[in-house]
């Protein structure tokens, strides 16, 4: 098997072993996955299943120890050097000494966009995440949900077609999370980006994704890949439909199967 050059992300027999003082830990083993352009892929599983590690491998924040992975046909390092992706962390990681617009400008400054261009992009991306008018505020003046939206704006500010999101709404309450999920789908529809999204919430994964990757721990591996049959247009109410519940059931079954393995 070789990686598929048409895919945005293409992993073949990917493995990653951490050397720790307690001996080697298999964070990922034998992962085979293709993410097509425009996909919304969720990675779901209990902690220690390697879902965040996989995202970090795509982002060149970790190096795999086995197998191959290609991002737009390049190695992760090449892809990172070409700024192929925007990464949204679990915490907003905004710089507290920068205003919201300056935080969004951070990647633009680093990548050397001209001033005028920076201004236009800041305005556009803040509008995308519904934060217009908050540009002059400092992060501490915003709620947790707004801060995370600002960090999404920062990841969208430059022209990366791939958005990597590591449990971006994990620390937020459910009402805010529902709202942000809805906004994220709209944003995805408007921008036509490919999104890889790590979560440990089944409803969140089913609601957002076109493809759900179910993972399980010890060793971290993929146990099931589910192609969603839900339409692209998804109101929040879709979560009560039988179709939605059926997919959620399959995800739950997949998680349970993976879990019984280590008992």
């Amino acid at each position: 098997m070789t990686s598929n050059p048409a895919s945005v992300v293409s992993a073949r027999n990917l493995g990653l072993t951490f050397e720790t003082s307690d001996g080697p830990v298999n964070a990922l083993t034998g992962v085979n996955l293709d993410v097509a352009k425009g996909d919304f892929v969720s990675f779901i599983g209990p902690s220690g299943c390697g879902k965040t590690t996989f995202l970090r491998v795509i982002a060149d924040l970790e190096r795999p120890t086995a197998g191959t992975i290609a991002i737009n046909g390049m190695t992760p390092e090449e892809a990172r050097r070409r700024r192929a992706y925007g990464y949204v962390f679990q915490a907003p990681a905004l710089y507290p000494w920068r205003t919201i617009e300056k935080n969004v400008a951070l990647p633009l400054e680093i990548m050397g966009y001209p001033r005028e261009e920076q201004k236009a992009r800041i305005e556009r991306t803040l509008e995308l995440v519904n934060l217009s008018g908050f540009g002059k505020k400092y992060p501490w003046q915003l709620s947790g949900g707004m801060q995370q939206r600002a960090s999404i704006a920062r990841a969208l500010a430059f022209d990366a077609d791939l958005l990597l999101m590591d449990e971006p709404f994990g620390a937020l309450d459910e009402i805010v999370r529902d709202h942000l999920n809805e906004q994220l789908l709209k944003l995805w529809a408007r921008t036509d980006k490919t999104i890889c999204f790590v979560t440990h919430s089944i409803p969140e994964a089913v609601y957002l994704s076109t493809k759900i990757v179910v993972m399980s721990p010890r060793p971290g591996r993929v146990t099931d890949i589910i192609e969603s049959t839900l339409p692209k247009e998804r109101p929040l109410g879709i979560r009560e439909t039988p179709e939605f519940l059926e997919i959620a059931h399959r995800v739950r079954e997949g998680l349970r199967a993976g879990h019984s393995y280590d008992e």
Binding site: D60, R80, M111
Partner: protein, 294 residues
């Protein structure tokens, strides 16, 4: 309303302590200076009454412990009543010490920051330099100060710079330690973010490490400026006591001029307080500009 809280929270506790200290000082002055008065009276073959004793202990020429008002009068006399260019002016001596302090502090802060940058970015420097930086502070400054003065004099460097270098020797240390900590203070997630942008080390430094280190820098600078002053005074002791607060201290102790010593001590303390307050104000201004939560 705000004035009231200021009065209650700041002024009242501080002034209470001051009043208490002054009271203790007066009592101590009477006790410590009384033996001299009794001796004088005994030699003259007279008895001295308590009220005379009290009055005399607070007005001696060379008391063991001068009374607070004597010190205040000396400071007033040597600052307001003397021209600032006069060698008898405390302002003149304070300026001599201050100029060495500021030069030494400037060099020390710059050196400290540069060393910290090197230590944070270079493993070899981290391993090799840090132990020496710490070891440098175990050498008593009183021992090394005359050596520095003598060695520099031998190669023709005299005046301000040798004293300033002793200030530097003391003040670079807190800056190195504080800045190493400060430049390493960004969280992993903030550094990862820079990595995903493929930021250069220089960009990571200026856009992340440097701003992150500001609170650490100013805390270190407050300590550094205070010990810079100590360094400058210590540096004046072995120079033959020509000018500066250190010279005033030394001359005072040669001639038993305790009032002069105490006046110089208070001048040094006031100078240190003002310097620390200036750095503190700069700290506040910088943090405010960086959008810190009020």
């Amino acid at each position: 309303m705000r004035q009231e809280t200021f009065l209650r929270d700041k002024l009242l506790p501080i002034s209470t302590v001051i009043v208490l200290l002054i009271a203790i000082w007066y009592v101590a002055a009477v006790f410590l200076n009384a033996p001299f008065e009794r001796d004088t009276a005994a030699r003259a073959g007279t008895e001295i009454g308590f009220s005379d004793l009290l009055r005399n202990t607070m007005a001696q020429e060379r008391p063991v412990l001068p009374a607070p008002h004597q010190v205040v009068a000396e400071i007033w006399d040597t600052t307001v009543n003397k021209a600032v260019t006069s060698k008898r002016s405390l302002v003149y001596h304070a300026w001599i010490t201050l100029s060495a302090t500021l030069l030494g502090f400037g060099i020390g802060a710059a050196l400290g920051i540069l060393l910290a940058i090197g230590i944070v970015h270079n493993r070899a420097m981290d391993r090799s330099l840090m132990p020496w930086v710490i070891a440098s502070q175990t050498i008593p400054i009183l021992a090394i100060a005359p050596m520095i003065i003598v060695v520099l004099n031998a190669i023709g460097i005299a005046g301000l710079l040798p004293k300033a270098l002793i200030s530097t020797y003391l003040s670079f240390f807190p800056v190195v330690v504080g800045m190493v900590k400060g430049l390493r203070s960004p969280e992993t997630i903030q550094l990862d973010l820079m990595h995903t942008y493929n930021a250069s080390p220089a960009q990571t430094f200026w856009k992340l490490r440097w701003p992150s280190s500001m609170p650490y820098l100013f805390t270190s600078l407050k300590v550094a400026v205070a010990i810079s002053l100590v360094g400058a005074i210590v540096g004046e002791l072995p120079t033959g006591a020509v000018a500066g607060l250190g010279a005033r201290l030394l001359a005072g102790s040669y001639y038993g001029q305790t009032v002069q010593i105490w006046a110089a001590l208070f001048m040094a303390a006031a100078l240190a307080a003002v310097l620390v307050m200036i750095v503190g104000a700069a700290h506040g201004a910088v943090l405010k500009r960086m959008g810190a939560k009020p």
